[in-house]
């Protein structure tokens, strides 16, 4: 890692920043949706579930193209943002949006599974003790599902960190703005003599992926099922 060039450090730093921002921004929405899917029984739930998995199934390039349509100069979100002087296309903020969209399904699915694992009888007990919805979530549901939620965050972060297809088609390949680690690798692959640099960055990518994978395994492995108080 010490052998990285300044440009490579830039790409690594950018990928970490983009992935962090993506997860931080997406997390509140993912928690809310995960909770709604786990606890709610509403019309259109199965349609929502199907839509949610779309970014996992649709080719990332198509997702990036769709984002460009929405956030571009002529897109309705792009125009709305332009009225308050914000443009995210071809900027790192756009890359964060792309990463957030790609990580979102993993975040929601993981948090939902974590919430599913919480004994709802405990929430009912909290309800009889006068705890409202928000208090129940913060004091019972979230602490009891914390490991699963953290595993989801790590998984989402790793997905956002490695994002390539949606990012490059949405915000391009601009050094210091949108050239993340994955895009830098792709760039180097197209350059003669870039093999050494590619190898270095591939090792970095693998290290992040492996660390994430181990962290998820550790968190999930220790996520013991919620036990109620012993009765006898």
């Amino acid at each position: 890692m010490a052998g990285l060039t300044p440009a490579e450090w830039d790409a690594l730093g950018l990928a970490l920043r983009i992935a962090s921002v993506a997860v931080i921004v997406a997390l509140p929405f993912a928690l809310a949706l995960g909770l709604a899917l786990s606890r709610g029984n509403f019309r259109g739930k199965s349609i929502l579930e199907a839509l949610l998995t779309l970014p996992l199934i649709v080719p990332p390039v198509v997702t990036g193209y769709t984002l460009l349509g929405l956030f571009g100069k002529h897109g309705f979100l792009g125009q709305a943002l332009a009225t308050i002087g914000i443009s995210i296309t071809f900027r790192w903020t756009g890359a964060a949006v792309a990463a957030a969209v790609m990580a979102f399904p993993l975040l929601v699915l993981s948090t939902r599974a974590a919430f599913d694992g919480v004994d709802r009888r405990l929430e009912a007990a909290a309800e009889t003790l006068g705890a409202g919805r928000w208090r129940r979530f913060v004091s019972i549901t979230l602490p009891l599902s914390l490991r699963g939620v953290l595993a989801g965050i790590v998984l989402g972060f790793a997905r956002a960190f490695g994002e390539f297809g949606a990012t490059i088609s949405f915000v391009g390949n601009i050094p210091g703005q949108t050239r993340t680690l994955s895009i830098a690798i792709w760039e180097l692959l197209n350059q003669p003599g870039g093999e050494d640099a590619v190898q270095r960055l591939v090792w970095v990518s693998l290290a992040v992926a492996l660390a994430s994978s181990f962290a998820v395994g550790l968190l999930r492995g220790r996520a013991a099922p919620v036990e109620d108080a012993p009765d006898a």
Binding site: T128, L129, G130, A131, L144, A229
Partner: protein, 225 residues
């Protein structure tokens, strides 16, 4: 004290129970599956009847014709569940204070009084996983008491405990009944438990009222101990 008229159906079970009692300590008695716990959960607001009316101590908790359904969170009932339901990630102290903190309540029974009454002082720092069955039940009772309830709902409070713990918890419950002026609704399938704690008994059979009787009549007929 309690006016109860509830219709509740699910799959192959139908609860159609109607009674009225002025006793401050009432027991719902019957074999398992007769609808006792469902009735208790309906009073607690955790099970919504299809139709009916529930009035506790003059307060309408549920009335399908008037469209009243006070949410569980606002019923202010101390519920002691059969399965304890202590929060596994919180210490005994935080379990006990959970309701008090949630409601910002400072009145009702004092923390120290409840701890003393149920002899919980040595358990406060422990997690529920490290309590015996009897201890866990006492903590559950304390937690329900400390949320400043208008009534106490006990679902099979002695079931699953070994004989010594049963006697001990029963003793604590008797003490509570004596020292606090708190209406109690007890659900139990054990005659001796009912005879020891209740003043009046509603006997259920397959979701229907079988009979309503005074505890002395009940004891003469059902209690063995």
């Amino acid at each position: 004290m309690l006016e109860f008229d509830v219709q509740w159906t699910r799959q192959d079970f139908e609860l159609a129970l109607k009674f009225r009692s002025e006793a401050r300590a009432l027991a719902l008695f019957g074999p398992s599956g007769c609808g006792k716990t469902t009735s208790l959960l309906a009073i607690a607001g955790l099970r919504r009847p299809q139709a009916g009316r529930i009035v506790l101590d003059g307060r309408v908790l549920f009335d399908s014709t008037a469209g009243v359904d006070v949410p569980a969170v606002a019923r202010h009932l101390g519920v002691v569940f059969q399965d304890g339901r202590l929060f596994p990630h919180l210490s005994v102290r935080d379990n006990l204070l959970y309701g008090r903190r949630a409601q910002n309540a400072a009145h009702g029974i004092a923390f120290d009084t409840a701890v003393q009454l149920l002899e919980l002082d040595k358990l406060l720092a422990r997690r529920p996983q490290h309590l015996s069955g009897g201890e866990a039940r006492r903590v559950a009772i304390g937690r329900a008491l400390l949320c400043d309830p208008v009534a106490l709902l006990l679902d099979e409070p002695l079931t699953g405990l070994h004989r010594e713990a049963r006697a001990q918890v029963l003793d604590y419950l008797r003490r509570l009944r004596g020292e606090l002026d708190l209406p109690i609704v007890l659900v139990s399938h054990q005659p001796d438990e009912v005879a020891a704690l209740a003043k009046e008994v509603v006997r259920l059979d397959d979701g229907r009222l079988a009979e309503q009787l005074d505890v002395s009549a009940f004891a003469a007929r059902y209690a063995t101990a």
